[in-house]
């Protein structure tokens, strides 16, 4: 494993039902994530996805790559673009990951994720999305 190695890519499909499901599972019932009129009343383009839903779904690529969600020691991101989720068609996000750094002494690797929204001119919806993974256990 070397800095720059790809860990692959995946696609996340989000529709309104996904937002309602995440609201219930997480306890984040902010109406901007399910009510069109509330979202528009605070100058949003419409209902938007929870940033934490995008963050939570994007890390699946890292879990699949390392084979054990318990190996993810640290995971952070900044939220830089909102993800509008239209009632018709929803949203589709593209996720790619590569090895950003390897710490042989600590037995960890940092995976850098790129998450873009092709429906919004390819805007990067997360930045500095990084997961630190333990790779030497057993």
């Amino acid at each position: 494993m070397q800095k720059g190695d790809s860990i692959g890519s995946t696609t996340i499909r989000l529709d309104r039902a996904d937002l309602v499901r995440y609201a219930g599972a997480s306890g984040d019932f902010n109406p901007i994530h399910w009510s069109e009129s509330t979202a528009r009343s605070v100058e949003l383009p419409g209902v938007i996805a929870h940033g934490m839903l995008t963050m939570g779904a994007a890390v699946q690529l890292v879990t699949d790559w390392c084979g054990d969600p318990g190996r993810i020691l640290d995971y952070q991101t900044r939220f830089t673009q909102m993800v509008p989720v239209p009632e018709d068609g929803g949203a589709t996000l593209e996720v790619t990951g590569k090895v950003g750094a390897v710490d042989a002494e600590a037995g960890t690797a940092r995976i850098d994720l790129t998450v873009t929204d092709p429906g919004n001119d390819g805007a990067r919806v997360l930045t500095k999305a990084q997961a630190v993974v333990r790779w030497d256990r057993q």
Partner: protein, 148 residues
């Protein structure tokens, strides 16, 4: 009214104990489309050396949000929740959260910064078992937009 700068350094009492259940982990994993069997299949989780079903890496937000409520609802905070945007989030796990854990979360305001009429409030939620074992640290920054 802006965010009260005296908030910096303030800690809040721990949340009520939260019992992490298998069905909650399955429900949360489905909601974030986390398909790894360690989130849903007990045999698969145990085969990886875990005591029980493993929570997805961002599950700790459920605990952190409860703790952060104390900050947002502090009558002294000056935070207008309708003007809040989530700026960043970070999870640091001392160990994975597993079903059967009984957890409490304690919120502390790490920093309050003013930035051209806006405020950035960074909170830390320390998550531990009711027996006192540290489990996760969750840092979250809220951007509170200033009045026009």
């Amino acid at each position: 009214m802006g965010v009260n700068p005296d908030l910096q350094g303030r800690s809040y009492p721990p949340t009520q104990p939260y019992a992490v259940g298998r069905e909650k982990i399955r429900e949360f994993a489905a909601a974030v489309k986390a398909g790894h069997p360690a989130h849903s299949d007990l045999e698969a989780a145990r085969a990886l050396g875990h005591a029980d079903l493993v929570a997805p890496p961002t599950f700790a937000v459920v605990l952190a949000q409860r703790a952060e409520q104390a900050v947002v609802q502090d009558p002294d905070s000056g935070i207008d929740f309708s003007r809040v945007v989530h700026a960043d989030e970070r999870f640091t796990h001392q160990r994975p959260i597993v079903a059967g854990d009984e957890l409490v979360a304690t919120a502390t305001v790490e920093t309050v910064k003013s930035l051209g009429g806006h405020s950035m409030v960074t909170t830390r939620a320390d998550i531990a078992t009711t027996a006192g074992e540290p489990v996760s640290t969750v840092r979250s920054t809220l951007l509170v937009r200033g009045e026009e």
